[in-house]
Subunit: 251 residues, 2 copies
């Protein structure tokens, strides 16, 4: 992991805070097809470590659930507000208010509502999340539930919750540097961390990026898993990033 | 449309070039649920204008096709290379070489291979494409077909083709400015234009952004459609953007 994504720690001699780990609820939204992949190991070690701390951990295993990514009229049960002109955002907003969203959406919203910390565990696909996880964001984070107008960014409805992206890349860390072919890794984080998580009010923790596991040795991959497990031991002490323009693009 | 996304024109008194419009092939990858939406109108006017120019226009209407967004083992017909450990990138690369990708992928690859220009028409969902379109990118643009190592960015396998993002936003142009809450619109284009299209070798034309149609008047929406139709009249004369760091984030 690059030094620049090292998390900030809260002061060690602090009083016990309400967000300390025992009793905390964690949701892991997991998007990998292969349980024995590095993503699978990172998810498993997070479940183990956080459970051991006394947290309640729930995993949404999107491929195993065959989670629907497409945003369609099927997401609204019962009658549409305007059957002659389908507007997904308007219809799902109204359906949320009327409690008539499809059950796969409401089940995820319930998990999210209860969570203190949400971990997104995924391999980077095209500088972003795999479509199955994009569909989770498109469908679960609907207006009325996750945000409204007013009610976005620092006033987003999921404020008070923590979120962290834990992802693997195909390229190496140097390829994702300012002078690398892929540009700084922070650039591709903007739509996800700022445009999605911060927009909904989350406090975003520094990302956990496991660079290039397929080019790494077995020992190095084990180091990536161990590093994540180690970080999770003190995850509740971390300060969120300042999720605004300078963090991503400099001054 | 913001001034800053105005396309550059080639010199008007040029000789006739091989990319002039008659006989050109255009693929429109379209992701909206409602035919009568602004996205639907923008797609329709592009079909009409480009057909009128003598182009052959093909539309992939992803919602109407119920296009599968999830990247799974079903994308490979026949035997997996390693059934005991599923690696999507490795398996689809090998399946591409062995011509054993699923037919919905190969049909899109054929359309793409034949196209001189690809237009992506979609509403912005979470600073990115809707999941159904993300799935098209995840599944269709596989290694071996769209890129390889070496064979990315300027050497990507789709080089020589043009691509353009035509998108609608929820927010206004001022919200997508450097000082706006959503940051400059160019920031969210980075993963799509650079990390995906440029990575595969496309020459990227300036985006066509229709800002905030739901907050606009009917007349303003008609203006957005007319503006797109007008631009398409001379689309073959446009120079691609310089798709690298400074275009997105400044010097």
């Amino acid at each position: 992991m690059s030094d620049s994504v090292q998390p900030h720690r809260r002061q060690p001699n602090r009083l016990r805070r309400p967000w300390d780990s025992p009793g905390k609820k964690v949701l892991i939204v997991y998007a990998h097809q292969e349980p024995r992949s590095l993503n699978g190991s990172l998810k498993d070690v997070a479940v183990a470590e956080l459970s051991q701390q006394g947290c309640t951990v729930t995993v949404s295993d999107l491929y195993a659930m065959n989670f629907e990514p497409r945003a369609t009229g099927k997401d609204i049960t019962g009658t549409l507000s305007n059957p002659g002109f389908f507007n997904y955002g308007v219809e799902t907003h109204k359906a949320y208010e009327k409690r008539s969203l499809s059950s796969d959406i409401t089940e995820e919203q319930k998990k999210l509502q209860e969570a203190d910390l949400v971990i997104f565990q995924f391999p980077l696909y095209w500088f972003s999340v795999p479509a199955v996880l994009k569909g989770w964001m498109d469908r679960v984070l609907c207006q009325g539930f996750a945000f409204d107008f007013p009610g976005s960014y620092d006033d987003g409805f999921l404020k008070g919750k923590l979120a962290i992206l834990s992802l693997t890349t195909g390229g190496t860390a140097s390829m994702y540097s300012k002078t690398g072919v892929n540009g700084d890794f922070r650039y591709f984080l903007w739509p996800l961390q700022h445009g999605t998580l911060h927009f909904c009010g989350f406090n975003v923790l520094a990302p956990q990026i496991s660079f290039g596991p397929e080019m790494a040795s077995e020992e190095e991959r084990k180091g990536m898993v161990a590093s994540w497990a180690q970080r999770l031991k003190t995850i509740w002490e971390e300060e969120p990033i300042q999720c605004s323009h300078p963090w991503y693009f400099g001054q």
